[in-house]
């Protein structure tokens, strides 16, 4: 597009010469001469002239005039800019020179022009920088969400300032209120200086306490004695500790101590170390030492004071710092006891789990509190008893156990024993998981014991073999003592009132006794009555039955023994158990009772 605007210089020259010639000669004569010449020309140059006219017209159309350029320039720039940065690159040097020239000639013009832009621009960049810084601070403070940072947040909210501003404000303001120089090993105070306005707690005790805390921390957490407390923070106060091999410097700082303060304290401590080494080499007394070191220590107070002349009482601080120190100590103890508690918790849980009669369903530890829940057989020792039994400390633990019956054999045995309520004549002992009974008891009680054990699932755990069954014993004796006598009775002549009936009565009474004892002993007894007179057969049972009602004695047989041969037939009264297997217990079925005369 630029080409048509750049006229060909050679052609232009040609054209202008023509124009000059055509444009001159205005008189008539001249006109005549001119028309004459014109004619000659057209004769000579006819074809070329037409061509020239055509070109002239075209040149007129193309000649760049400012008006036309002004009209096309904006569009031209717009179109070219869209194509790339060529235009910008070719304009840049010119623009630079132009701006320089402008500033050189009249700076105010440009300043006025850019003022509305430059203000916000600078503010923007500063803001961005501050924001980044505050952000870093925020993060630092957020990460250590100390009571201090919370306080600052509240202050920021209250005063309607950004949190970052408050942090900056607080961070840059501090004062060293007290400095203590103490011996690193013993914690004994060497020298103490305080700001005159500061009320001071006993520095000897402060020094001791700090060292004790430090020992504790080094002992409990740090990997070596060289790792130790550097700060103790409380509210907006700090205790800066700088330790050297022999001396330790502690500075109470109000406000936020800058990092630089630590470096200064470090340098001071190094200086003091040198001085103390010199003095001790001269065997100076403690008093001399203290006096010599005072100026250097006091300097630590002064130097920092110039940076912040704001006076505030430090009495409270010392108290708070001590309280803070105590808190730290407590926290340290807390953590240690926490570890011990965790151990104790596991121990208790394991003890309970291993204990028969305990089912631990939930065991939780929450700080100091321990809770254990589950089931406990009332026969198992209570947690308190366990603690005493095993010599353990169960303090801080809460036990919630619902009662249940354990099937653990030892507890089952215990339960049976508890239910038995043995009479005084019985001695019941727990031997392992067995209940061993000894002594004497009625048959009824023994039966009760057996069925109780059976009902509670401990039939095999009850050992009653050493127990004498009183009823059975009595039965045996009664059987042994059954009256044994031969007598003659005749059914026809039987008179229950006659003295001869005494035999029958006696036998009946004895049988009755056996019967009742057999019932008590829960035994069925077979009684065989042997008669030797034919007519007595069948009579005697009837007689006996008439006299007594014998329920348990089965007078099943009355045997006839023929006495025709006059053989001596021992009269027999035998008793036996209904179950053949038990017969032996009672001796022979038929038992001689010895000879007796008729």
């Amino acid at each position: 597009m630029s080409e048509p605007l750049e006229p060909d210089p050679s052609r232009e020259r040609e054209l202008s010469t023509d124009a000059a010639e055509f444009g001159n000669g205005r008189s008539d004569r001249q006109h005549d001469e001119a028309s004459e010449l014109e004619r000659v020309r057209s004769i000579l140059l006819g074809r070329e002239r037409a061509e020239l006219a055509r070109l002239e017209k075209r040149v007129d159309e193309l000649a760049p005039d400012a008006d036309q350029v002004a009209r096309v320039l904006p569009d031209a720039i717009r179109i070219e800019s869209k194509r790339g940065d060529r235009l910008a690159r070719s304009l840049a040097p010119t623009v630079e020179v132009a701006v320089q020239e402008s500033v050189r000639r009249n700076p105010k013009a440009l300043a006025d022009a850019i003022f509305p832009i430059i203000g916000p621009a600078i503010r923007n960049s500063v803001e961005a920088m501050l924001a980044a810084m505050v952000d870093r601070l925020n993060r630092a403070v957020d990460h250590s969400l100390s009571p201090r940072s919370i306080g600052w947040r509240i202050e920021a909210w209250r005063t309607n300032r950004s949190f970052g501003e408050v942090v900056l404000l607080k961070s840059l303001v501090y004062r060293v209120e007290q400095v203590l120089l103490l011996r690193t090993d013993s914690g004994l105070l060497v020298k103490h200086v305080a700001h005159p306005a500061v009320a001071v707690a006993d520095p000897d005790l402060v020094a001791g306490m700090l060292t004790a805390i430090n020992d504790f921390v080094a002992d409990s957490f740090a990997k070596g004695a060289d790792q130790a407390l550097e700060h103790v923070e409380y509210a907006d106060k700090t205790l800066e500790l700088v330790r050297g091999p022999r001396l330790t410097l502690a500075a109470h700082v109000r406000g936020q101590a800058p990092r630089e303060l630590r470096l200064r304290l470090q340098a001071l401590l190094e200086e003091l170390h040198l001085k103390v080494a010199e003095l001790e080499a001269e065997r100076a007394s403690d008093e001399t030492l203290a006096a010599e070191l005072e100026p250097a220590l006091a300097r630590a107070l002064e130097t920092q004071e110039r940076e912040n002349a704001k006076k505030q009482s430090g009495a409270m601080f010392v108290v708070l710092a001590l309280a803070g120190a105590a808190l730290v100590l407590l926290a340290v103890w807390g953590i240690l006891t926490h570890a011990r508690r965790a151990e104790r918790f596991d121990l208790i849980a394991n003890v309970l789990r291993a204990q028969p009669g305990y089912v631990v369903l939930a065991a939780e530890r929450n700080g100091e509190r321990m809770t254990f829940e589950g089931l406990r057989d009332p026969l198992a020792p209570s947690p308190e008893e366990l603690a005493q039994l095993l010599d353990l400390d169960f303090s801080g633990a809460t036990f919630t156990f619902e009662p249940y019956a354990s099937l653990d054999r030892s507890l089952v045995a215990k339960r049976v024993l508890q239910a038995l309520t043995p009479p005084p004549s019985v001695d019941a002992q727990l031997v392992g998981d067995r209940i061993v009974l000894s002594g004497q008891a009625t048959h009824a009680w023994i039966e009760l014991a057996n069925s109780l054990a059976k009902a509670l699932g401990a039939a095999d755990q009850l050992d009653a073999t050493r127990l004498v069954d009183l009823d059975l014993e009595a039965l045996r004796q009664a059987i042994d003592e059954l009256p044994y006598r031969a007598f003659v009775v005749s059914a026809a002549s039987f008179d229950p009132k006659a003295p001869s009936a005494d035999n029958v009565h006696g036998l009946a009474a004895a049988l009755q006794r056996v019967d009742s004892l057999a019932r008590a002993a829960d035994r069925a007894i077979d009684v065989r009555v042997v008669a030797f007179m034919p007519e007595t057969v069948g009579v005697l049972p009837a007689l006996l039955a008439k006299t007594v009602s014998l329920e348990s004695l089965l007078l099943t047989r009355v045997e006839f023994v023929d006495s025709a041969d006059h053989r001596f037939v021992p009269p027999l009264v035998g008793v036996r158990h209904s179950e053949a297997s038990d017969v032996h217990e009672f001796g022979a079925v038929a038992r001689f009772r010895g000879k007796e005369s008729w």
């Binding site: 013993s186 004994l188 020992d215 504790f216 403690d286 103890w333």
Partner: protein, 170 residues
């Protein structure tokens, strides 16, 4: 060079009366209530020995039990120590001696005194005189004390203070 401040540690089983002895000495107080010491309790007593002022920093340590063993770091820089036992618990004497042996390297040649405390409880006294005689023969300085009625308390501290000064000044 005579020190003006010294560090003294109280060591022994729990409940033998370490805290009570310190309280008796520093504040002339005695309480029947038992409040076990947690960590370290530091007290201070200022006295004058032969016209020279001396500050004793008393480190009353927790009594050792099976859970919490005493740490040697509390003894660092100590000038002297009291090993305290309870005369009504013979076993606490053995424990005190065991501690003395265990911490001997930490104490160096600092003086130490064995205090057999609760001497007022004569009826429950378990420690036999022969035992104490044997310890004395071995070189122990043994004192029977009572934090309750103050028996030998003042004397024990003064003896230790003198021994410490004597050692430090040569």
């Amino acid at each position: 060079m005579t020190p003006t401040r010294v560090k003294v540690c109280m060591l022994g089983s729990f409940a033998v009366g370490k805290t009570s002895l310190v309280q008796r000495y520093v504040k002339s107080l005695f309480s029947e209530r038992y409040q076990t010491t947690i960590g370290v309790q530091i007290d201070k007593k200022e006295l004058v020995i032969d016209g020279r002022p001396l500050t004793i920093m008393l480190w009353d340590l927790y009594g050792e039990d099976e859970f919490q063993k005493l740490s040697a770091s509390f003894l660092r820089g100590a000038h002297g120590a009291f090993f305290v036992a309870d005369g009504t618990r013979a076993q606490s004497v053995d424990h005190a001696l065991e501690l003395a042996e265990r911490f001997a390297p930490d104490l160096g040649d600092g003086p130490r005194i064995l205090l057999v405390n609760k001497h007022d409880l004569a009826a429950q006294w378990e420690v036999r005189d022969e035992t104490l005689a044997r310890l004395r023969a071995k070189g122990w300085l043994v004192l029977c004390t009572s934090a309750k009625d103050g028996e030998n308390v003042e004397r024990a501290f003064e003896l230790l203070a003198r021994a410490m000064l004597e050692r430090e000044s040569d």
